[in-house]
């Protein structure tokens, strides 16, 4: 089990993302022994995550600091058919200033932005322009998002188009059918092609865990995507019936931990969809801290894919500052 697999190429220089400090995961050859040896016992995993909120509690100033951290890890997202440049510019403005200035001042912090803005390809140029000079990266969902069933060459080409348009992060969707039919080699090849197409842009592999059938498949798909060079693994498109959950997150984090233990490369994690409460966000961060360690508590290795989470975090921060429960209309919409 303890294979000493070496990465097949050396780390390349990172894309110019301000918050990236890690050598990129170069990937490795597909190690089927490792993939097939991965297990995930659903009941045990559910027990672990169920007891977590009772085991970890963050209070007062600590809670405020953790909520601010959560904000800096949000990929502020709009992925709607009715997105317009105006809507995207408003979102970008919110990403630049996600919390009211007086609240930040009361907390004694400054320079808080979201981790990124995440949009469809058509909105990339607008977002890049709106965020110019902020250092906030623009992420584009790609490869026939959300189903990933458009012609293969077009999916690969879509990545190139978004990179050309200025996206520095690409959220690709994997072909779920490769997982469901156990065609791990095909999944590996696809992911390698996508990674290559990204060039210097970071690639997040969306597993669409709600469609993979089992946690064991989630564990195996996570490993295959990391072996093929994913910079991040991400749970969901937000369009599946079940999106990010704590059990799925535990499985993916453990896969990331194993991958780091064997290769020395840190891969990032992005739960997406369904996380809308400040309390839930803090629970995710505690899971991350306990399973992967403090190093991952940073936007270069962790993101929330979320749209409504920010609103709740703002309200809770205002509550922390004033002692009174807040109202949503007191905070700017994004």
């Amino acid at each position: 089990m303890q294979s000493k697999t070496q990465p097949i190429n050396t780390p390349v220089k990172t894309a110019g993302l301000p918050q990236v400090h890690e050598p990129r995961n170069p990937g490795m050859e597909l190690d089927m022994d490792w993939v097939m040896g991965a297990q995930a016992n659903t009941s045990a995993i559910e027990r672990r995550v169920k007891s977590l909120p009772g085991r970890r509690s963050v209070k007062k100033d600590y809670q405020a600091a953790w909520m601010l951290k959560a904000i800096t890890c949000i990929d502020l997202t709009t992925l709607s058919g009715d997105d317009t440049p105006g809507r995207v510019r408003r979102l970008c403005a919110k990403a630049r200033q996600p919390v009211r200035a007086d609240i930040l001042e009361a907390l004694g912090v400054e320079g808080i932005t979201t981790g990124a803005v995440c949009v469809y390809h058509e909105m990339v140029e607008t977002a890049v322009a709106a965020l110019e000079g902020t250092g906030i990266p623009v992420a584009a969902v790609s490869t026939g998002f959300p189903a990933g069933l458009s012609p293969y060459h077009l999916r690969v080409a879509e990545i190139g188009e978004s990179v050309k348009a200025g996206a520095s992060e690409i959220d690709i969707v994997i072909s779920r059918r490769h997982v469901l039919t156990g065609n791990w080699q095909a999944l590996y090849n696809e992911m390698r092609d996508f990674r290559a197409a990204c060039g210097d842009a970071h690639v997040k592999a969306i597993l669409a865990t709600g469609e993979l059938g089992s946690l064991r498949n989630v564990a195996r798909a996570s490993l295959v995507c990391m072996m093929a060079g994913a910079d991040f693994i991400k749970t969901s498109t937000g369009k599946e019936a079940v999106n990010a959950t704590l059990p799925v997150s535990l499985v993916m984090m453990r896969a990331i931990r194993d991958y780091h233990a064997r290769t020395g490369f840190r891969v990032g994690y992005k739960p997406a969809g369904g996380i809308s409460k400040a309390k839930d966000a803090v629970t995710y961060l505690t899971l991350l801290k306990d399973e992967l360690g403090d190093r991952w508590l940073s936007p270069d290795l962790f993101r929330f894919g979320a749209s409504s989470l920010l609103g709740d975090l703002e309200r809770q921060l205002e509550h922390h500052v004033t002692g009174n429960y807040s109202a949503s209309y007191r905070h700017a919409i994004g």
Partner: protein, 783 residues
Amino acid sequence: MTVKDIFETMDYGPAPESTSEAMAWIAEHDGKFGQFINGDFTPHHDGFESRNPATGDILALVTQASGDDIDAAVTAATKAQKKWARTSGHERAKVLYAIARLLQKHSRLFAVLETMDNGKPIRESRDIDIPLVQQHFYYHAGMAQLMESELPDAEPLGVCGQIIPWNFPLLMLAWKIAPAIATGNTCVLKPAEYTSLTALLFAEICVQAGLPKGVVNIVTGNGAVGEMIVTHEDIDKIAFTGSTAVGRRIREATAGSGKALTLELGGKSPYIVFEDADIDSAVEGLVDAIWFNQGQVCCAGSRLLVQEGIAEEFYAKLKVRMDGLRMGDPLDKCIDIGALVDPVQHATVTDMVARGGAEGEVYHAKCKLPNQGCYYPPTLITGLDSAAYLMQEEIFGPVLVSTTFRTPAEAVQLANNTRYGLAASVWSENVNLALDIAPKLVAGIVWVNATNLFDAAAGFGGVRESGFGREGGWEGLSAYTRPKTASKPLHPIMPVSAPKGAQVTELDRTAKMYIGGKQARPDSGYSTAIWSPKGKLLGHVGQGSRKDIRNAVEAAHAAKGWAKTTGHLRAQILYYIAENLSARGDEFAKRLNEISGKTGGRKEVDATLSRLFTYAAWADKYDGQAHGVPIRGIALAMKEPVGVIGALCPDDAPLLGLISVMAPAIAMGNTCVLAASQAAPLAATDFYQVLDTSDVPAGVVNILTGDHADLAGPLAGHLDVDAVWSFSSTDLSAQIEHASAGNLKRTWVNNARTRDWFGKDGEGREFLQQATEVKNIWVPYGE
């Protein structure tokens, strides 16, 4: 630390639970507690300190009970018992329900008080202990409601003396009191001296719930108080949870007293990880196995057995996980491990690791320890052999010991290589493997891909030196009820003395003993003549001795494959025994008439045939249960044979008595060593010829003859016998119960009373229950 600083470090920070309500409750009592006797709190006297082990602070002064206090409590319980037992099940159910509701309403107060008194993390008292306590009273409210309809043949035992430990103070109280009062008993309960406070708070709840005076009495104090309870003449049952050493002393102290006894003792429970397990989940499981309640858990998975090929990886992951555990103030909502209960316990754990740690490699978790208080770091000791001191002895602290195995068979062998038999965990993603291993483990509870799951609906309790009796589930009710069996005093029935003018009419026939399927001469080389009341020499039988017992027990163990046969096969063999006995019915009837000098021989043969049919019928019908536990999964309560049962057979029905003992034992898969009626052994020695012709495998039934008083000691003292029954007309109850303390085997003795062997009390569920252990196998599932 400013918000800005914390944003960088991302520390957890303190998250303390407030103690103000709990302190206010203590202050209401001026920090001094009396006891709860006959529905009232007595004045405080002879106080001892109850301390918070995390800080060393004195919480309150508690009373050291006097002999008069115990008498008063037992008198109150005795007075209350008959009326409480006559109270309708529904009325009792209403009271238990009210207790459950009140526990729920005051749940945080109980949790905080428990943590302050015991040192366990507030997370555990709040999320595990107290909810389980509530659940236990709700569940047993239901048992009170159903008792009349579902257990019409059961009656309460009377006054129960209950002595509980400090590791789960309120939960152990619930496990003792809820089933006792649900079934119409009354209680005198003593909490551990370190942790009396939640029991006293519980007493207040009893008043509010409308529990009649005297039904529950709480007395406090040290082991001397426990001893007064154990030896009190007017107590009918002792229930004890605690160390094996004390349990053994209680067994000896109650021997022959007629008190019912259940013991829930120590353990060294194996935690088996196969190479196909979900390794990360198995590592995480250990946090709940051995670092739950600081490892002060009788069923803690304290003996890690890892398949060799994954051991290195497993230990590496485990050490990382250990380093991430957070130790500290038990009232902090963000810690995993609190304080050991007392400096004495801390010293014991420290000394044990100092003594035995060098036999392996000791790893202490690199987590931060508080500067003061009884904290011991999570510890892993690898590379121990099965002979190592720490592999054998219970540490009762946060110390995990480990070794490796190669094959499933070796895992079972290592797992069972212990004097204990409480619990076990099996981790494998292969359902065939897990469900094959679970029944092979000598334990009362097996968790598959899980650990330390508890519920009121599933019995808890062990085998071997982990004690006997179950708490929880239907099986737990037998600890607080007995069958309504009619019994009458039994007078010694002695062999007929040699007559003056002996009649010797027939060719000498030598009755031998029957060991391992062969006729065996007595090791002693002595024989005894057996005479009929009319002065006829009926034959000679060997004088059995300890050597014959040794040989018979060895033969019984060699026949252990019998336990793995199907119920259907055992039924077929019991029917076949009946068929062959029937064919020789006239001969047996004649023999019985000669033995007794009366004419009831035919009737006894016919009753014996019916009895064989009864247990042939039961052999494949005494089903286990699938308990409805609150997980996605099942808890299978499997009925397993006890093992080797030694029995002194009745003298008042030489053939029927022998079969009444043998048939339920072998029907359930046990093997047995039977001491034939001392007064009339020849029916038994004739009977082994029937066994010989009925396909009974060698060693399943072994028959000895001789003096019951000589055989009882070696049989009850034999460390490889799992249960001893006595129906002898010589009252050997005290001797047997006393000698059984060696390996804490189960005993079933008649206390000089007998039952009607020809009637319904001579057979049935009571015998089957005595012939089986209930093993609860928890199987969570889900893909």
